[in-house]
Symmetry: C2
């Protein structure tokens, strides 16, 4: 179904568009009966009026939306701060929406937002987002910028970090530290970042002639308890890994706890590296080697690109794409050799 | 200045309210010249049209606002998840606003929100919020519920935890573990939660006849680097504390780092307890004793109270106030005795 317009309401009710418009504006010229008819149909068809009514519609809402999976993650909370810094400086409001990794929520939020509540959106897609029609629909009306978890299919600015290189670098670092049986703990396969990190991992394994049977990628879930059980199973098995790469920050606690409960010592029995921006990495037992992403700068770049587009409708947003490199920070969780 | 209404615009321009309304609705009955005049004045006076135009104004936006200091904090991110769970179940949208501890932002956000964009707000005030006129103003039009950092001056639901008891309990726990020189690291004095925790601390110190000279409260800042320097100074002084209570989660990293860099061992030289919901508490070096707050449940209770009020305009919201107790979780950072 296309957009519900005043014209469509007029056709359906056999009234003029002026009457519909006046009825929606609660004009005294329109009878209560007609107003009721118009409002009932408007509601039935889910007619979305612009957030700023009438002629004010021509003005901007000076508001941007940010869609992210969750805020309880240091990458996203830092990125949000970067987005807000730029938005505030330009007099824009920022609305934050959590998708909780559900594509249905992403769809519902974007559908609601086309009504004029915001001038554009910055999106990091959910782990479930495998097709992009809903984002295309939104993007036909309002500008979109992606960051971190991007949609290369959509012709716009994509702010990313060098995920492939980081996947490679993390793996290479473990190999140089003596690891030969490395697992990468991952989440959704459809996510751009995860697939890039996985490819980097595979390339490093191949370049170093390590066995694919010993070095593989294992999918985790959204649930901490089941991830704990999974890590425990992996670390109790006959062919126990001597290196773990976690592509998601929140796996850190479960990896450390599972090892602790099994009496497996990090870094002598197994070395651990995580993609993480947690400030507590440095005070963990042992301190955690991380791939630290430029979260704040990525947020800033995404907001800068979007606000540029809002200022200049003709801007080819794809040209604003940027790759901001991450940093390997070596700490105690990957030092020393491996005890055989 | 009062609210800018269509009536006021009409008076100023010496036009009828019907003309103003039509001009704002871009009616073809109104000349372009008049429309321009109306729009210019509307903009100049900062006229805020309802988010949902015209008659649709009578309907609710089905949206609630949440104002919190920041999202990069496990208490607030968990509370947000609690709020969203309730809101989603009732078909409400949640808009998240970060105040970054600035009362000016809190004021600006609330001023913007009275325009009809939301049906009500859930607020945890900033560390700077010492007077409440701006919240009163908002609350005259729309319902407000407070959680954690509350405003008892405003007659509405206040969702809190037992901060006084927790301040007392944390102090008592350190005393029982052998500490005699205890500092509480705190932030804003105007915050309800901080003053309650401080009172609990003072009561425990008095009940145990400890010296007020040895046991006191020290104010920290918003800046991690200066907090690190402050903790280092405190721990390098002649009368070094043997117990630290951090009332804010984000102080954890600085306390651990400062002790580590000074060669001070937790828990033998100093015992540490934090008000914290960080899941990483258990994998720190050493694992951290915490006062764990019912963040998720507090968020749920706040949203439940607000949505109840939205359903029933007559509801005395103050009756929905609730105190949900926190839990002391003892871990290694407070075990064993104190080395003298």
């Amino acid at each position: 179904m296309g957009t519900i317009t005043i014209k469509l309401l007029a056709e359906r009710l056999n009234l003029s568009t002026a009457t519909i418009s006046k009825a929606l504006c609660d004009s005294h010229e329109i009878s209560e009966v007609t107003k009721r008819k118009v409002l009932d149909l408007a509601r039935e068809l889910n007619y979305v009026p612009n957030a700023y009514a009438g002629s004010l519609r021509r003005h901007k809402s000076k508001t941007i939306a940010v869609l992210i999976p969750e805020v309880a993650d240091s990458f996203f909370s830092l990125a949000l701060n970067g987005i807000e810094e730029v938005a505030l400086a330009k007099g824009y409001h920022t609305l934050i929406y959590m998708t909780h990794e559900k594509v249905e929520r992403e769809k519902a939020i974007l559908k609601e937002l086309v009504g004029g509540r915001v001038d554009g959106a910055i999106i990091s897609v959910t782990a479930e987002t495998a097709s992009f029609e809903h984002i295309h629909d939104f993007n036909r009306r309002l500008p979109v910028v992606f960051f971190d978890r991007v949609c290369p299919e959509i012709d716009t600015a994509q702010i990313t970090t060098n995920d492939f290189e980081c996947g490679y670098q993390a793996t290479q670092h473990l190999i140089e530290a003596g690891c030969r049986k490395i697992v990468m703990l991952s989440i959704s396969n459809s996510l751009s970042i995860i697939s890039a990190r996985s490819e980097g991992f595979k390339k490093a394994i191949a370049d170093n002639n390590l066995s694919e049977a010993d070095c593989h990628i294992i999918a985790c879930t959204e649930d901490a308890a089941s991830n704990y059980t999974l890590v425990k199973e992996i670390m109790s098995g006959p062919n126990r890994p001597d290196g773990i790469i976690a592509t998601v920050e929140k796996l850190t606690t479960e990896i450390y706890l599972a090892c602790q409960d099994l009496g497996i010592t990090i870094p002598t029995d197994v070395k651990v590296i995580c993609f993480s921006n947690q400030s507590s990495a440095v005070i963990l037992n042992p301190s955690l080697t991380t791939i630290t992403q430029p979260a704040f700068d990525m947020g800033k770049a995404a907001a800068t690109a979007l606000l540029k587009a809002l200022k200049n409708n003709e801007l080819p947003l794809a040209d604003e794409s940027e790759v901001i490199p991450s940093t390997l920070v070596v700490r105690n969780s990957t030092t020393g050799g491996i005890k055989n």
